[in-house]
Symmetry: C2
Subunit: 412 residues, 2 copies
Amino acid sequence: MERTFEQNLDAYAHLIINTGCNVQPGQELFISSDIANAQLVRLLVAEGYRVGASNVTVHWTDEQVSRMHYDNRPLEAWSQFPEWQAELQNGVARRGAALLFIDSEDPYGMTGVDPRKFAARTKAAHEACKEWRRGMDFGLNVWCIVGAASPAWASRVFPDLPVEEAVGKLWDAIFATVRVNTPDPDAAWMAREKDFKRHVDWLNGLGLDRLHYTNGIGTELTVGLNADGLWEAGGGYTKGGTFFFPNMPTEEVFSTPDRERVDGIVYSALPLNHDGTLIDRFWVRFEGGRAVECGAEQGQEALQSIIDTDEGSHYLGECSLVPKESPIHQSGILFLSTLFDENAACHLALGMGFPECLKGGLDMSKDELLAAHVNQSATHVDFMVGTDDLTVTGFARDGREVPIFVDGTWAE
Amino acid sequence: MERTFEQNLDAYAHLIINTGCNVQPGQELFISSDIANAQLVRLLVAEGYRVGASNVTVHWTDEQVSRMHYDNRPLEAWSQFPEWQAELQNGVARRGAALLFIDSEDPYGMTGVDPRKFAARTKAAHEACKEWRRGMDFGLNVWCIVGAASPAWASRVFPDLPVEEAVGKLWDAIFATVRVNTPDPDAAWMAREKDFKRHVDWLNGLGLDRLHYTNGIGTELTVGLNADGLWEAGGGYTKGGTFFFPNMPTEEVFSTPDRERVDGIVYSALPLNHDGTLIDRFWVRFEGGRAVECGAEQGQEALQSIIDTDEGSHYLGECSLVPKESPIHQSGILFLSTLFDENAACHLALGMGFPECLKGGLDMSKDELLAAHVNQSATHVDFMVGTDDLTVTGFARDGREVPIFVDGTWAE
């Protein structure tokens, strides 16, 4: 099965619009992208209109210009979110648009920027874009994050290759992880969805009270689970009943922990690239759900800054299971992008939890969710904990002990 | 004097920010550009911050995406202007930003689009962006339009050249017209400003009541001038006292006619490219200021659609004098862009007049301006009337007859 690059890009655009976003006739489509991805974006706009979108709004950004903003504007400027951008984001969310994000950032493009500026920006955006957040967090809007091989990103992943070759190689890797290298990528995703459902149904049927993580690098962590908690994977439904895939690629089966019942220590399995700063060989210790201590051989300040974003960023919002057979893990490529790397290994996330991972959660207010121990925060930062020797043991509410992961993969 | 392309682009960015926009410390800067011009835009953002801009907002567009919008969205969609974009434009205007526009459009990029969609869009923008329009029309904001050689535009100007060569040649032409090919471009612009002032002072001292245009292709037009009318050229001042150049390049000396006293017929000297449609070999007949009849060998429908945009677009808002020695005329290049081509020949414009061309006009309301015979409209479309044999005779209010232009150039 050999396609030209243009044919692959066409197939990718088709997959994103039809299966990722599942854009409906008459619906709006919002696309956020760096200008480096214009070729893909134009195909997406064309496909969006082809399937009947009433309007497609492209919000272009340029990473080099963004960097100049961060370098030149003082910290206090970042606690103000532009009104026009809030209106743009809230407006499309309010009108039920499909929200599509093209991720192509240079993993080190923001290296050296004061991390407090990002934290201030995140907080300000959270305040200003309430309808936008609600639309994504509470299943009102479909949303989808996909990758694109920008020259800046590709050069970081393959630093020894000439830039054009690096871009080609990163595109090939992206196409493989999203199954664009199969005869019918849209069908492949729907088939994959059945595999996800098998693991999700198994986990949801176990009546788990908590998970216990252990491995050879020192992790000894207990993660409590809500009695009404749900495991999810692959695609999901909006409250209006539209099926979509929030992430492409995706290999994870995930839930939201009980924010008050996380105890022990967890060590990172992969470096974390956060807003351009690399945080490596780090650990976090939890007591009663709260991150009370952390350490890092590299990027300690940035790690502390993530944890200190707000009160909720001291608690876990996600626990995800990814077997070591994941094609992203098998590719051996460190993508330096959470969208890809989080699908290479089991991970946890500090910050915002998932309402859809609690029965009835999509109909609850933020206060109700918090009362039900689903974490609330302006941020959500994944970090990888899945080593090839990771064991995850489940403890059911009826007392049973169930192996979930053994040696880094599904126990069944 | 040989500079590399990068040196020229640097000098151009310096000229635009410092002399064109005259950006002040603490001021905001707004830049609107196609993504094709990223290299120039990044230099402009950097220079903006270097001179102390408090924030630089870049509004990116992509012509290919814009074309898809026009092809796919129905006429009725265009009478709604996006709220976020109104807030973006009104917001920067309200906060006193310098407004910078990079013009690089494919002259035929919109060929075939229903012209009523552009008219609807223009009208909707005019309604929605009141503070924005006020900022530019009434001297509150500095604003500056400059060119950039996009591949799409360059390929139209030099259709027989390979695209890279066409881009290089168009950049060279742009650099020459804005005097970036001189040792100190910023100083060259301030020197040129003195030449403008000489002609402006002469015209303003004549006490002109009307101009009479005649040439060999049939033009016989009388253009009335307001007793309180003013001629302007080159740079201007905001009400706050900041000196700026609204257009780069500029070769024109211009005023606003008495909207009620335009009579006769005028023939086009150059084709008019309007929103991607070429209008060629056309004429317009005026009675009591109003365009009552028009004809075109090509693009008649588009011409009629311009005139019919609103009531004000039936009247003249501008009369401009450009001698045939203009470097743009001498270059022999048809740029297919009003910004450049209007500086190749004498021209008139249908639509919005210039409040700054009436004594006290910047302090008048739209109603007061209309009462003073300064035209008001949602649009402003230039068309070229200056042939090499054009004669313009002035009739002063004291009865004197004064030659203004003879054989296409200044009579003195």
